[in-house]
Symmetry: C2
Subunit: 548 residues, 2 copies
Amino acid sequence: MKIALAQINCHIGNFELNCSKIIDNIKRAEKDNADLVIFPELSVPGYPPLDLLEYDYFIEQCYKSIDKIAASCKNVAAIIGSPAYNEKQKGKKLHNSAFFLSEGKVKKVFHKGLLPNYDVFDEYRYFEPAGSFSTINYNDHNIAVTICEDLWSLDEKTLYVASPMEELLKQNPTLLINIAASPFSYNQHLERKSILSKNAFKYDMPLIYVNHTGAHTDLIFDGGSMVIDPKGKIVHEMKYFGEDYYLTGIETIKKAGGKKVPSTQASSEKIKLIHDALILGIRDYFRKTGFTKAVLGLSGGVDSAVVLVLAAKALGNENVKALMMPSRFSSKHSVDDAVKLAKTMKISYDIVPINKIYDTFCKTLQPLFEKTGFGLTEENLQARARAMLLMAYSNEYGNVLLNASNKSESAVGYTTIYGDMCGGLSVLGDVYKTEVYELAGYINRTGRVIPANTINKPPSAELRPGQKDTDSLPDYELLDKILYNHIELQMSPGDIVKKGFKPDIVQKTVSMVKKSEHKRFQAPPVLRVSPKAFGTGRRMPVVAKQPL
Amino acid sequence: MKIALAQINCHIGNFELNCSKIIDNIKRAEKDNADLVIFPELSVPGYPPLDLLEYDYFIEQCYKSIDKIAASCKNVAAIIGSPAYNEKQKGKKLHNSAFFLSEGKVKKVFHKGLLPNYDVFDEYRYFEPAGSFSTINYNDHNIAVTICEDLWSLDEKTLYVASPMEELLKQNPTLLINIAASPFSYNQHLERKSILSKNAFKYDMPLIYVNHTGAHTDLIFDGGSMVIDPKGKIVHEMKYFGEDYYLTGIETIKKAGGKKVPSTQASSEKIKLIHDALILGIRDYFRKTGFTKAVLGLSGGVDSAVVLVLAAKALGNENVKALMMPSRFSSKHSVDDAVKLAKTMKISYDIVPINKIYDTFCKTLQPLFEKTGFGLTEENLQARARAMLLMAYSNEYGNVLLNASNKSESAVGYTTIYGDMCGGLSVLGDVYKTEVYELAGYINRTGRVIPANTINKPPSAELRPGQKDTDSLPDYELLDKILYNHIELQMSPGDIVKKGFKPDIVQKTVSMVKKSEHKRFQAPPVLRVSPKAFGTGRRMPVVAKQPL
């Protein structure tokens, strides 16, 4: 049996585009004499459709698309992800399903049994889990069709009480298919390979896995669809961060000696993966919202420098505009470093000093303020004046403002809300400062792009004379480790101290994270690259008193 | 058997406060010779604790609190809501549970069977549903202890496959207890009474229902705990929007002839309830984040006028500051109307014209802009200059900025992001413009507080000469109806047109809702008063192409 894997980039709610991509791949598979072509989970509506699933006319569009796609499945069968109505009286309205299309119609519908409902996932919000499982006989193969999380309950201790594969085994399947919407984080591909390989090995069957590629707001789907032999070895791995098509055969899979599956350790490729993911994240945000041009403030610091380069790679340098907005606290080298980078990258820029705006604000506010001193108010005024200029540029020319806050400063609230927190998309909001430096190094790997001074000077917001980030924060090397323990590993301050960190620094850091929940509540969507990003994957009460 | 109902206002994560409230009520019940005192769902950690539940040290604090509370239950038993570890290998880590405390220790733990996971609820994110159900014998009564949603599966067609009560019935309970965290919306109390009454009637048992009161960021818990007799009649209804304590007896309940339960129709009290809910929402946001003072921009329009009055009622007029920030497009009466209101309410105010700031921005931007005309950019500059002044005031004096955007303008994006969308809390973000007028009428019911001109003049953002809201939007009477059909009732544009609305206006409105998802993504938390508020209860993809 010949099988085609179609790793496509869908657009949520864009049924016309999604259908045409699906049908194009069906035609190609047909031309290749394939017997079956497989598409990712919920590829008809795009993933994740979120509350659009609650609108009946959205579901009707899904069914109409399925009919249209089925009509093109005359000479080749297809497996497509789309929601299906729950036909029982009780339970949620929908299932998350895989449609088996053949001979011009829907032959069978499989429902997902294990619904992820943690971190960025809310599938239990919309879907009823499958109550029963069955295989389909096709071309002398007895196929077990599963959907993403369905294969994620191998261990003794799992999140799920049920196990779809244990049910399916009773029907003696000979081929295991998994359609998925598994978003990127820097170690997800290793987890994925390990779990899928274990499934193929345990059930002694070839496994075909088809994942999405493309980004939807905060979530980036990296692709990496694969074919695994019954010994658990990866026979073929598809492209990362791009669409791909692959033709294989059951006999070929069984005969092939696959690659060894890497262990689930931190990958040495981490920074390269983050780099590629962020570019896809930016590109698809623009493409899918219909915008083409970006604007950002270029401070001379490393964060905005990295965002500028990533944006230029994603959108083309001609579509990126930089504004340098020095105040009287900006050092001379800041504008010079920023200009140098803009010139290297062939980015159009303007220098717009903010002194007059800042002075006018101060003068206007003078009658209200009792003091004459300089403080947080005045620091924030500068950050907000810059945001106003950037947003004015955005309004005038239609460039989307890119946010350049990193995860470290966002975590501790070392940011100005409605100031440097502004933007349509946060590019580095899930990248710690130490990782931003690594990204800068990676960008410079084949030659100097980001100026040495931008990378080497001590980080500073330059909002008051001689300011350094370390005036308010621990060194980033230390800060990022504490944050990682508290945010990614969800450790208590007490346990972090036990790992050898100083109690006062740990307490202060965790307390700053808690005190800035209200700021992050209003942050732009953050491109997710870690297993625990700020945004929809981390939901903290704003009014809570967090026990320390 | 004498039973006390303790309707308390908890603070998420404030174990010290929650424990002391709980123990105080236990002591009071003890003094009253009660046999049992009942507290709301998850009252130990406060509701909803969200991802704090994922931190083990948070759960440990819950257990420590339970021990402390149990120790005080020497002469009276108590039922308390708190999370419990799932003791099985498989499934989520926690249960949402009710602890039965007696004789100084935990006698039994009941787990919630039906976990709401829709709208603002994410309980399946954290909890494993109960697999089995059993009653407890206490003082010659066989008590069925249920948790909130557990009683919400009466109908033929429900969201849930299981029915805890059908399981519990097998053990012949004689008393039904339900502890809840049921947030306010303007018709929720009617739904609640209807469902609880049906349960008591169906199972022919007295029903005791204990709900939270108090607000947590966006969610307002209205209380309204109650006692229902076996005929389904309400014997006693507790306070709305405040803490309350009530002592009753099983015999008393059985004998009493209760009130008739109102039908689930729109309540004539709707506006009064919204008014009271918003005041509690504001008060608790401040109290629970540790702030005391608010600031807001007073434009002379009805939205900011209503917010000012509500804030003064919630925080005290001495804790509210108003800034009037006229531009050259502001009409004379706007400042006059605003000043009149501030004087009536005895609110401290300042008039801070923004012309100089606006002119400085325009001059600074001139070299960048090719045109000389006036447009959206310039309109937004004014709104953002005001936000900067308000935030500067907030930074300087510690007053939290209150947002005054209403649901209608938020829905269609007739707002400036980082401008009038700023604020720590959105007071009217779930109140349609037509309802804002009703609120103004309600506030003026016993005498003129909000000036007549503020209420009677045509709504205008005053961002360009002679501007009216109706230049860009349909009349609010019409707009609000279309929005209600699309947002609350989740109707398609086609179905709304079938109800008699003009196709072009419906299309334009729904398209505006879709196009402003990216703005609402960054909006402040919205006090929820309707069944479908913007915020955590409505999750829409930013990049989607919504089918029209």
